[in-house]
């Protein structure tokens, strides 16, 4: 058993045991970390496997959340249907947007996604017949599957982390199979891969759509958990946080989104002890990680090890 799989098994065990020892507030934070892990997984697949910076994830997160809110509260759908519609709509919109813009690369693609993220936030704000504008939509029913309602934090905790770990496992298999090989080859040597007959554009669109669907799923879970959605949850700042999740732990390993998601939920919580300066400290941590630690925080032990043995 390799070191990585040992870590994964230990983390999964720890995640299963946590709700029995944590107090309620910490359990809630951990539930948010699961939403972040799911949405961050999408961004991480794009960044780590394809080298694409996506700054529109909060938009897709919002589509999932509003589909669940509007579907269940206004149209009276079941939560499962709302979630399904949200994920489907996000996928279709990602396909329609991704097809033209994924011809761009690098900075231009990143800023294009940033533009889409900002347009998305404005539309959430302006289309108040659909989204409730600044007032938002409240009173979402708790999520229930086949009559079993996930209506307590502990139950929701297992649902959210179960979904997150399941998706991580799927993503792990995806990136270790042929598609993952193709994705990383596109990232590292696009012209050579094109020569080998890989449909680069098609591959990038597929990953972009998967990313959007993961974002929508996370948004939908979030909406059911807090039972209230409004524009503030889907701003560009949120997209930046989603981007940080894979960056902090190093985007190349899929499982890195778990420490990344824990970092973005727990560290600001601890830093609030320092007062208003915590946001700035958080930003500085990011700058330091990007500047000095190209493999992210998970690369730190290996880096120190190299320095010691040298």
């Amino acid at each position: 058993m390799s070191r990585l799989s040992l870590w994964i098994v230990l983390s999964v065990l720890a995640i299963c045991a946590l709700p029995f020892v944590l107090e309620r507030h910490s359990t809630e934070l951990m539930i948010f970390a699961a939403f972040y892990a799911i949405a961050g997984l999408g961004v991480g697949l794009l960044l780590g496997q394809c080298g694409i910076v996506n700054l529109a994830q909060a938009f897709f997160y919002g589509i999932g959340a509003y589909a669940s809110a509007y579907g269940t509260v206004v149209l009276g759908w079941t939560p499962a249907l709302g979630m399904l519609v949200g994920v489907g709509v996000a996928g279709l919109i990602a396909l329609a947007i991704g097809w033209p813009i994924l011809k761009l690369t690098g900075f231009f693609l990143a800023l294009a996604t940033l533009g889409i993220g900002i347009i998305g936030t404005i539309l959430f704000f302006e289309w108040d017949w659909l989204t409730g504008g600044t007032l938002g939509i409240g009173g979402l029913p708790p999520l229930s599957i086949a009559g079993f309602a996930f209506d307590t934090p502990d139950r929701f905790y297992f649902l959210a982390w179960g979904v997150a770990l399941g998706l991580l496992w799927l993503a792990h298999n995806l990136t270790n199979g042929r598609p993952g090989l193709a994705m990383r080859a596109v990232r590292d040597a696009a012209p050579a891969v094109e020569g080998l007959g890989v449909d680069i554009h098609g591959l990038r669109i597929k990953v972009f759509v998967i990313c959007a669907m993961l974002g929508a799923l996370a948004g939908s879970l979030f909406a059911h958990y807090v039972s209230y959605v409004s524009v503030e949850s889907f701003t560009v700042q949120r997209s930046i946080v989603f981007l940080l999740i894979p960056v902090i732990a190093g985007p190349r390993v899929v499982w890195g989104v778990v420490p990344g998601a824990l970092f973005v939920t727990l560290v600001p919580e601890w830093l609030t002890g320092f007062g208003d300066i915590h946001q700035m400290l958080f930003g500085l941590v990011l700058v330091v990680v990007v500047t000095l630690l190209p493999e992210g925080l998970t690369g730190l032990p290996a880096r120190l090890g190299r320095r010691v043995t040298r």
Partner: protein, 295 residues
């Protein structure tokens, strides 16, 4: 809707155009000198504007001193960013997405720092040439807006001359086109990159000081301005300061028309929509053949 109303909002759009152009010029300068797209250019504007505001209101310094301090703050920030972030990353040949993450992280950090040190409030500066306005064919334009346009044009032509004739300007371009070639010719490439960031910071801060009499400066405006400036720069072909002015005019005027025709909420949608369409359909910008990497 009367013609005067359309004309009035066109004039307002014209003033905004030059602000976007100034931010776009800063992005173009940094891109020209380093091949990095700076996603925190708008935060240089926030730093410049805020420094000038505090120099005037809290420390009671005279207007020209505040103006100079604002520009100095932007220049220093640009230089520091190169020295402490970009240089170590260049040394290990970091990839394009790493530089983008860096500038986004800096935008986030500077926004949070301004929030911490300067607070949530938005601030205005007094305008150049007082608070008066002139009447042009029945519509009013603040005197400051005219100063803004004059100064922006002066910056564009100054930069054009700088890159064409001055040794430093030529070295800065050479360092970005071929680092090895420039090094062989005795150009200190990393120093040129430092100058480029300092110049970008100075132009960004100037943009911030000039915008603050028209739009109140606050900690959260950085990213929005960056994107408008980027849209202007993209329309102009990204490496061309004059192109950024034309791009700024397209963005500013279409925004003004969107406010008249649709509602003010949609003006950013129109500006960013134009940016997206232009990026996909005309990757070299309105002026063409400017050439750009990575798209």
């Amino acid at each position: 809707m009367t013609m005067t109303l359309v004309w009035q909002s066109l004039l307002a759009g014209l003033a905004n155009s030059f602000i976007y152009a100034m931010v776009g010029i800063g992005i173009a300068v940094i891109y020209k000198g380093t091949r990095i797209v700076n996603a925190m250019q708008g935060d240089f504007a926030v730093i410049g504007g805020m420094t000038a505001v505090f120099a005037l209101s809290s420390w009671g310094l005279p207007y020209p001193v505040g103006f100079a301090l604002g520009i100095l703050a932007g220049t220093a920030t640009g230089w520091l960013i190169d020295r402490f972030c970009v240089r170590p990353m260049m040394r290990r040949n970091a990839e394009e997405d790493a530089f983008l993450l860096l500038t986004i992280g800096l935008a986030f950090t500077i926004g949070a720092a301004v929030l911490y040190f300067a607070g949530r409030d938005a601030h205005l500066l007094p305008g150049l040439g007082g608070s008066g306005s002139v009447q042009i064919f029945g519509a009013f334009m603040p005197v400051h807006a005219i100063w803004l346009i004059v100064i922006s044009l002066a910056v564009v032509f100054g930069l054009w001359a700088f890159y064409r004739w001055s040794i430093i300007g030529l070295s800065m371009i050479a360092a970005s086109i071929s680092a090895d070639g420039a090094e062989t010719n005795g150009i200190d490439v990393s120093r040129m990159r430092g100058y480029t960031f300092a110049l970008g910071g100075a132009i960004g801060a100037l943009a911030g000081i000039l915008v603050t009499p028209l739009i109140a400066v606050s900690y959260q405006m950085g990213l929005g301005i960056t994107l408008k400036g980027f849209a202007a720069a993209i329309l102009g072909g990204l490496a061309n300061p004059l192109g950024a002015v034309i791009g700024g005019l397209v963005i500013g005027v279409s925004e003004a028309m969107a406010v008249v025709g649709l509602s003010s909420g949609y003006k950013d949608v129109v500006a960013l929509g134009i940016m997206l369409i232009m990026m996909v359909l005309m990757p070299n910008g309105l002026l063409g053949h400017a050439g750009r990497k990575g798209g």
